[in-house]
Amino acid sequence: MSMTFIIDALVTVIGITTPILLAASGELVVEKSGVINLGVEGMMLVGAIAGFAVTFETGNPWLGIVIAMLAGAASSLIFGVLVLSLGANQVATGLALTIFGIGLSSLIGSNYVGIANDPLDSPFPDDLAKDAFWRIIFGHSPFVYMAVLLVLAIGYFLNKTRAGLVLRAVGENDFSAHSIGYPVIAIRYAAIAFGGAASGLAGADFSMVISPLWAEQMTAGRGWIALALVVFAGWRAGRLLAGSYFFGVLMALELYAKASGFAIFPSQFWAAMPYLIAVIVLAIISSRDGKGGKAPACLGKPFIPNG
């Protein structure tokens, strides 16, 4: 009994962590290039409605996933043009993108309220996940595996490849990168589009797996958790993976507290936990100098080449 409970709990944790991990992985790449895109929540919503609608209309969830990623990337490029080509303030533009994403997804989604799709199942044969224990490994939606592979690939990309080195260089010192001859703006566009696609994918996870229907603002602020997670992880892929599951546990606590009527604290307390912990951990990390992982030096600064 308790074994099943633990396995159920783990599956829940892994499930609800996945969209955060996806979005945070994308944002990690964006921030490593020196751009802060606060529009994650908005891009997730655009991805969520795009994924849901395409899946519903075509019956092909894989097409839904691809379109969700494209939709996320397209909305991020609005941000990209404003911030990179027109030199707009990144924080304000990112917030605007979130508001835009909420509005656009609600508009498109108004025809889809109250409809449900079948949730996307595990890509592995059912037999593999029959045993309760193996369910932890084989019993998830494709998004779970994509998220883990994505964050590992990003870790490898950033630390082991030349392209990753150049991306970090652009985020660390844009003027130097420019003077050496790297196309700062183009690299940032690519990073932003990548982040948008990852956010779109994260949104699709919500509307295709976690609750396979469309509801306005169904991502419920998880985009903000993803943003906090990047800082929490000190801009490192490995810590991002660990940190996201830590947040996942905290979020699962809320669900279980609600379900079990666990009365010591009201469930709102558990709901507030991830945010509270995020604040505390951030304070600890930022007060600890040096080792704790540093923000890319050019994070949030506009780059205007001067020749």
Partner: protein, 555 residues
């Protein structure tokens, strides 16, 4: 141009034109076979012919021609703003020339990017290192290479180059932990890994200690002996005499002379750099000055950061009616001095700075303004004025107390507008009016506005830094006249500038700041141009003794 033996000169003329005459009828008419021409061409690594670059409002490079031979250490000498950096940026492909041609090893080339320059065999070590603090040495060097190399292979290669040229550095250290000299070594190694045939060094010693300079020179001589050409940019005359075999001297964007530094003295080269066509001082009748209105005694402040300069026992007196000029090469403590004088940095003691018998050393800028000390910093947009504020608001920022349009925390908007209008009218500022944003004004007009704003407050003491930096000639003349008029009304004025012409034309008294120390003030008509050039170039005390010896700035 200095005098050269006739034969040599005409030969040089021929060589200069070879690229254009190769294969042309002119070449054949001269009776030179193609082979010989090409051999002669190959003996020139880089040639510039009539290279011109214009920026809005300024001709940065005006028809510059020069040649660099293989294995030659060629100095590019000139004051700040003479156009040295613009020129090398064009050679390294960061900027494109408006006209003129670059000839690389006999072939005319267009260098579109730094990458293209590196492919040709041109390396550059920047004055401000383009390094990435959070990364280690290997990563930084990898970023400067165009191909992909494995980390271990690169590590070995770096160690190889460093052994060969006697450079010491652990390739696995993080940049943030390195000294300035070590950082420069990375840049050099990065450039050398590409086996350049021309290495451009942009003021490489400005941040090095004398020991590090010696090490650097050894490396450079070694490179030159292997046939690498070096274009060495500096304004430090003694270094050029010690290191270079040829020098091209720029002034105001033009080549004013070429010479062999080994046959020149720092004195003669200083003269060429500053120019002998200096205007006579327009003033210089001192002795009529009034009482001391500004008195600084033993102003000593530590370095604000790693790249700042410590102020070392600065003392000066400025009398009413006197214009006191402070010359010096940039980065010798001018910024720190302006901040200390205007109150952005407080002095250790109240008595360190005295304005009209009132000690103000511990007062901030507002207190000092009240006491009669106004200032115009170097950076007009962002420091002297806020670009997104109207001119009226900008006037309020510094003039509210002295001009009485602030009472108990409330601002008299009409008063501020009226004052701003008065500044605009008196100083002929071209703008739509007091409601225009400061950022919408051209550089010269904004400078006239911020100067006018302070001058109309009738300050007892006015401190101005680079009053005509980047300002067109008409506005500059206007600003100069306004300063002279203010002095005539009995104010004491301190002008800090890198423009010697300006200081000589304007000031009664002149002093040079070098490494945070101020030389003894001398009446301007007793200072020779050569002497000034030497002091600015870093050799103090030729005729104006100051205690202590002076070397290249140390990190």
């Amino acid at each position: 141009m200095n005098v050269r033996p006739m034969a040599l000169s005409s030969c040089a003329e021929k060589i200069r034109h070879i690229p254009s005459i190769v294969g042309s009828s002119d070449g054949r008419r001269l009776g030179l076979s193609k082979e010989i021409l090409h051999t002669m061409v190959a003996s020139t690594r880089l040639e510039l012919i009539g290279v011109t670059k214009r920026f809005p409002g300024v001709l940065a490079n005006d028809r510059i021609s020069l040649t660099v031979k293989p294995g030659e250490i060629h100095a590019l000498l000139g004051e700040n703003g003479a156009g040295k950096s613009t020129l090398v940026k064009m050679i390294y492909g960061i900027q494109a020339p408006d006209s003129g041609s670059l000839i690389w090893e006999g072939k005319e080339v267009r260098i579109a990017s730094p990458r293209a320059a590196r492919r040709l065999g041109i390396g550059m070590v920047f004055q401000h290192f383009s390094l990435f603090e959070a990364m280690d040495v290997i990563e930084n060097i990898a970023l400067g290479l165009d191909g992909s190399v494995s980390r271990n292979a690169l590590d070995a290669e770096i160690r190889g180059v460093m052994d060969k040229y006697g450079l010491k550095l652990d390739p696995r250290r993080q940049i943030a932990t390195l000294s300035v000299g070590e950082r420069q070594r990375i840049e050099i190694v990065r450039a050398l890994l590409l086996n350049p045939r021309l290495l451009i060094m942009d003021e490489p010693t400005s941040v090095l200690t004398p020991q590090e300079v010696e090490e650097l020179f050894k490396t450079l001589r070694r490179l030159a002996s292997e046939g690498v050409s070096i274009l060495y940019i500096s304004h430090k005359l003694h270094e050029i005499v010690a290191l270079c075999e040829r020098a091209t001297i720029l002034r105001g964007g033009r080549v004013v002379a070429t010479c062999d530094p080994r046959q020149e003295t720092p004195r003669s080269m200083g003269e060429m750099m500053i120019g002998s066509d200096l205007r006579d001082p327009a003033r210089g009748q001192v002795g009529v000055a009034g009482p001391v209105r500004m008195c600084v005694r033993g102003l000593t402040l530590p370095k604000p950061d790693d790249f700042g300069v410590a102020l070392d026992a600065i003392s000066l007196d400025v009398r009413g009616g006197e214009i006191f000029g402070i010359a010096g090469v940039a980065g010798n403590g001018q910024n720190e001095l302006v901040e200390a004088l205007c109150g952005e940095k407080l002095s250790p003691d109240d008595q360190t700075i005295v304005v009209d018998q009132k000690p103000v050393g511990r007062m901030g800028p507002s207190g000092r303004r009240k006491a009669g000390l106004c200032a115009v910093p170097e950076e007009r947009n962002g420091h002297a004025a806020i670009g997104n504020f109207t001119l009226a608001d900008n006037a309020t920022l510094t003039a509210r107390t002295r001009m009485g349009f602030e009472t108990q925390g409330f601002i008299d908007q009409d008063g501020a507008r009226a004052f701003a209008d008065r500044v605009i009218k008196t100083f002929a500022v071209k703008t739509l009016g007091a409601a225009a944003l400061a950022g919408s004004l051209s550089g010269g007009n904004l400078q006239k506005f911020v100067m006018g704003r302070e001058i109309l407050q009738a300050p007892g003491v006015l401190v101005v830094s680079q009053p005509t930096w980047g300002v067109d000639a008409g506005s500059a003349a206007f600003i100069h006249q306004a300063l002279i008029d203010l002095a005539a009304k009995g104010s004491a004025i301190i002008v800090i500038s890198q423009d010697l012409d300006e200081l000589l034309a304007l000031c009664d008294t002149l002093s040079v700041i070098n490494l945070g120390r101020l030389s003894k003030a001398r009446p301007v008509n007793e200072v020779s141009v050569q002497e000034l050039g030497l002091m600015m170039g870093g050799i103090h005390g030729v005729n104006a003794p100051v205690e202590g010896d002076v070397h290249a700035p140390s990190a």
